[in-house]
């Protein structure tokens, strides 16, 4: 079940959802709330001969993070057919007890330019806290200028059917994993 604008606002008021800074009234649509682009961008540098094998035992993100350049700026020039990591301005927290999860999605106004904000990883899990990472792609033929503060993506909230297992730790303690169940 997808939350409407009213239900998102009620969830914020009741402490079942934190969005900081809080979105203004113009950030909402009937069933979503827009988030804005922050000032941090992380570029991957191509290194000749470099191979990334994420499925290998002992794979470490820190082994290749040296190939990443972090930039802080109010604007970012996204070349055609290029990729950059960015983050929302807003800090999001969805408590385990909230029975909420969310999906970050693009906006049609940007999508028609060939602009995508995530690469198959849209789920914001119950229990999440942080600024949302965006995997930004320009699939179009023209350079796109990104401005910090622009409406970059939308969050769609869904009600979960229950509380995740890790929210029931009091029940799980002392039990084997196969027995750990909450109501």
């Amino acid at each position: 079940m997808i939350l409407t604008d009213r239900e998102i606002q009620i969830a914020i008021q009741e402490g079942n959802l934190t969005i900081t800074p809080p979105p203004g009234p113009d950030a909402y649509s009937s069933t979503s709330v827009d988030l804005t682009l922050g000032r941090t961008f992380a570029e991957w540098q191509a290194v000749q001969g470099s191979l990334i094998r994420p499925g290998a035992p002992g794979f470490k993100y820190t082994n290749f993070v040296r190939n990443q350049t972090i930039k802080e700026d109010d604007t970012y020039f996204l070349a055609p057919r290029s990729f950059v990591l960015a983050w929302t301005t807003e800090f999001i927290a969805i408590p385990l007890s909230s029975r909420l999860a969310a999906r970050v999605e693009g906006k049609s106004s940007l999508a028609r330019l060939g602009f995508g904000v995530h690469l198959t990883a849209p789920t914001i899990h119950c229990g999440f806290k942080g600024n949302i990472q965006l995997e930004v792609c320009n699939s179009g033929p023209n350079e796109i200028i990104l401005d910090a503060g622009m409406h970059i993506c939308q969050l769609i909230f869904e009600q979960t059917a229950g509380t995740p297992e890790k929210g029931y730790q009091g029940f799980a303690l002392g039990q084997t994993p196969g027995q750990a169940r909450g109501g």
Binding site: G38, T40, A42, P54, P57, G58, F59, K60, Y61, T62, V65, Q68, I70, L85, W87, F91, L96, G127, F128, K129, G130, N131, Q133, P164, E165, K166, G167, Q169, A172, L173, G174, Q175, T176, P177, G178, Q179, A180
Partner: protein, 81 residues
């Protein structure tokens, strides 16, 4: 929630994020997480799902570099918060 000792390997890449390493019963996992998931002693919040023969199955605050959310850690390494 429970707290689990970890080592902070790096700052970033996102706002207020850190890369931490968590020791598991079979090796280690790297996780990029928000600083608010760490307490003032640098321990990470995890959810305990169960125990088996001195080890605990925990859910990490975010997906690890290996793609895993749930890992086995030494039960003795956990502190109830």
């Amino acid at each position: 929630m429970h707290l689990l000792k970890c080592d902070v390997l790096a700052t970033g890449p996102g706002p207020s994020e850190k890369v931490v390493e968590i020791l598991t019963t079979t090796g280690s996992e790297e996780v990029v997480l928000h600083s608010s998931a760490l307490d003032d002693q640098g321990r990470v919040e995890v959810g305990v799902l169960g125990y088996d023969q001195g080890r605990a199955l925990v859910e990490l605050p975010r997906e690890a570099s290996s793609g895993r959310w749930r890992v086995w850690v030494p039960a003795a390494a956990l502190v109830a918060s």
